[in-house]
Point group: C2
Chain length 290, copies 2
């Protein structure tokens, strides 16, 4: 598909794109940039990327595709540095977990949304991070959401779509604001809840015992809460209005649960638990249908 591909941020996400692009022969050469020198060195040594560059301003029109795969808080700065040699013959995309703030940053840097910048979000990852966790299979059967705006070039969207599809992903197109609504609920709130709960229980006097006996319940929360704190900080700040509103909804839900417990209203509590179980069953059915 492409000759030269540039990956800005060769962590789990960017590194896995590099591995998959290599595996599926989607380009001739993969160039990587990463602030973490050890991580970048590891990416070269393990053959995940062909060439490491020092400076984002070296990314020019010799690239066919450039993927911004850094925490969403750094996209603005990255775009400022890319602007210097920004090329209309290159297609740019990103892998940020929030989309409105990336579009906002691009508009701020360029005065308008560049037609050849396709905002995207691969729904993949794990609590692991860094190039060492990268895998060519990370995107196999995973969803990727592209959120082009009115100004976005349709050919650029088609190229990015094809790139992800060839790595095994299933691509959807979505409005950026709608994307941020959905992921505030399905991803951001659950992570904030997990971080908060683990932080709270981890500060209790009995924290060692709580960890020791963390079987089914708390253990799953600690796994979620072991995700990269910097990445999640950026996501929370980027999508904070929506997350705050959901946290407020959730606080009200917990108030309701406590009222129900206080009044010993078994039927109401059972109905909530039952409805949650039903939602899970809908999820499994939907998942299996696809």
């Amino acid at each position: 598909v492409f000759d030269r591909v540039g990956i800005l941020g060769v962590g789990l996400i960017g590194g896995s794109v590099a591995c998959a692009a290599r595996k599926y022969k989607l380009c001739r050469e993969i160039v990587g940039i990463d602030q973490d020198r050890n991580n970048l060195l590891a990416a070269v040594e393990s053959g995940v990327i062909d060439i490491a560059l020092e400076d984002v301003r070296q990314i020019d029109g010799t690239f066919d595709l450039v993927l911004l795969a850094t925490p969403v808080g750094s996209m603005g700065e990255l775009l400022v540095n890319l602007k210097r040699n920004w090329s209309s013959s290159t297609v740019y995309s990103d892998s940020g977990s929030t989309k409105l703030n990336v579009i906002r940053a691009a508009k701020l840097v360029f005065g308008r949304m560049p037609a050849n910048f396709v905002p995207g979000h691969p729904i993949a990852g794990s609590e692991q991070s860094g190039v060492a966790a990268a895998s060519p299979h990370l995107y196999q059967n995973k969803r990727v959401i592209l959120t082009p705006v009115a100004e976005t070039d349709r050919k650029a969207v088609a190229l990015v779509e094809e790139f992800w599809q060839k790595m095994g992903a299933r691509v959807s197109i979505m409005e950026p604001a709608h994307h941020d609504d959905i992921f505030a609920a399905t991803s951001h709130l659950p992570h904030v809840v997990a971080f908060s709960l683990v932080d709270m229980l981890g500060r209790k006097d009995e924290k060692d015992e709580i960890l020791k006996y963390a079987a089914g319940g708390f253990k799953d929360f600690t796994r979620l809460a072991s995700s990269d704190p910097k990445m999640w900080l950026d996501i929370c700040l980027a999508n904070r209005e929506r997350i705050m509103s959901l946290i407020e909804d959730f606080r009200k839900e917990l108030t309701l649960i406590n009222e129900i417990l206080d009044r010993n209203e078994a039927d109401k509590l059972f109905a909530i638990f039952q409805s949650a179980k039903t939602a899970r069953q809908r999820f499994l059915e939907q998942y299996e249908l696809e």
Copy 2:
């Protein structure tokens, strides 16, 4: 170890005890009772139990060990029915996830805590339920907590301890109130939080999309929330004061998070996420040491 073992409630927990007792040759005969006739029939047909009885009042002094493995809310009624043929030569134990309420129920039925009733709690299970999910390996390397009281016969405790150890479990002794404190934090609160979050998001207009894109975050919550609603209703009512107090703590933690987001205090948010990640690391270290 034993001749006849009675299992009251042949679900995931009781059924797995039956399978493990058979596998490790811990008794000659396994007798089961279950309110769900289909489940009981399946337990006989699959050879998990040898004999199915209709009525708890048939459990008499011919049994060496009787395990109460029903939801904690039904223990009182079960003890009332067992009382008729209660035998001092039999050892009784239970597998309830809360301990104070089981002890309270026993004291209510017998006027005091019977010396041959050893309250216990195996820390094992899954979101699966019923005898079909039973496995002889469920307790392998899992923890079992026994919470004897002052009146409890030490020989009975030793017998129950040996029984679990031979099924591969690691047994600890704990004060009943302390047990209920620890498990309110490590198990009950996380489950209530998962049920509440899944219920809340499952009622939103975008619920189908939220489920569709439920990758890392929400998916883990739906798994926890697919646990048996009746079992969790009983646990919540049995340990409700402690759970209510932790829910209140957690509501305050969420208020704090929202204040931090509102003020854009990146450092404070990062510190919370970082501390949660550290707690996870402590968990992994402790887990691997053992």
